[in-house]
């Protein structure tokens, strides 16, 4: 075990800013990328739905004739 206390752990031997800054950046980057991936997925699916509805409309008009 490297750390005597929780405060010891967060201080990182005086390098807390650099160590936690690095880990925080990586965590934030992964979180942002995952959010962007989900947004892009949702938008892509809704575009398929859109073309699907157009299809449905056109077949319906054909059926009405």
């Amino acid at each position: 075990m490297n750390w005597g206390s929780a405060a010891d752990f967060w201080a990182m031997g005086g390098y807390g800013f650099y160590v936690w800054g690095s880990y925080g950046t990586v965590l934030a980057a992964a979180a942002i990328e995952i959010v962007l991936l989900r947004v892009r997925r949702r938008r892509a699916i809704s575009e398929v739905i859109g073309s699907n509805l157009e299809m449905g409309k056109s077949t319906q008009t054909l059926g009405d004739r």
């Binding site: 075990m1 490297n2 750390w3 752990f9 990182m12 031997g13 005086g14 390098y15 650099y18 160590v19 800054g21 690095s22 880990y23 950046t25 990586v26 980057a29 992964a30 990328e33 995952i34 991936l37 892009r40 997925r41 938008r43 892509a44 699916i45 575009e47 398929v48 739905i49 859109g50 073309s51 699907n52 299809m55």
Partner: protein, 255 residues
């Protein structure tokens, strides 16, 4: 589902057809993210609670557990991106080119992370956030290659032409990868030589190495998961009018 499996026949290009690749990529994505989370938890435990304090760098060295994996991934992903782009160019397989496009943003992100974590490590260790050292400069060039690839593809409307132009750029840029890798040997500038290499036994404590390898595997798994997630969106964007996309949509199998 049954109509899909009946129509598609196994063969060399089985998974290069969008309708077989799409569901497979979906199943794999979740697994790679789960594996990444487990490996990262193990790696962080080893990195913070098992690996000892470094004799010369103190606790600041713990940044290497994410810096080195991010730097490795930035180079690996570029090579894999260029490989897929080349396959798409030579074999004219659409999904190969889409894989290249799906990898690029994650590769760029890894490059940014390598540069930021590197500067946060450099400040306490070298006394500066940035220096025009050969390793740092060639890594910055790598970021511009990724951004150039993304910008070029975004600027061309026809997807297949964008794929081809991107592939040429990606392949020309491959020359930068050995420059990054060997920069610490070719030029005697500030960045230290590697502690882990293919030809020598590692010059670091076994527990430090273990933490770094676990984190590297976690970064690998995350990157594969992210690329597979993104390639499915790219597939849908490009083939939103196709029969297979509408079938999967009707069966509610798009998520």
């Amino acid at each position: 589902m049954s109509t899909l499996s009946v129509r598609a026949r196994p063969g060399l290009f089985w998974f290069s057809s969008p309708q077989t690749f799409f569901p497979l990529a979906g199943r794999l994505t979740s697994w790679f993210f789960v594996i990444a989370a487990v490996l990262a938890a193990l790696g962080l435990y080893v990195g913070f609670f098992v690996a000892p304090t470094d004799a010369t760098q103190g606790e600041s060295y713990r940044i290497i557990f994410i810096h080195v994996p991010a730097a490795w991934m930035s180079m690996f992903l570029y090579l894999i991106m260029a490989l897929w782009a080349a396959l798409g160019l030579i074999l004219n397989t659409r999904v190969s080119s889409m894989m290249a496009s799906a990898i690029a943003p994650t590769g760029a992100l890894m490059t940014v992370l390598a540069l930021i974590t590197g500067s946060l490590w450099g400040r306490p260790t070298w006394g500066t956030y940035w220096v025009w050292d050969a390793r740092l400069t060639s890594e910055l060039v790598l970021l511009f290659l990724y951004l150039g690839f993304l910008a070029l593809q975004a600027a061309i409307d026809d997807p297949r032409r964008a794929d081809k132009a991107g592939a040429v750029l990606a392949l020309v840029g491959v020359v930068n990868i050995p420059i990054i890798y060997f920069s610490v040997q070719w030029w005697n500038t500030l960045h230290q030589g590697s502690s882990v290499s293919l030809t020598r036994s590692p010059s670091m404590a076994a527990t430090m190495l273990l933490g770094m390898l676990l984190m590297a595997l976690a970064f690998w798994s995350y990157s594969i998961g992210a690329a597979l997630h993104r390639v499915r969106s790219i597939l849908l964007e490009r083939e939103k009018r196709s029969e297979w996309a509408r079938e999967l949509r009707a069966a509610e199998r798009l998520n």
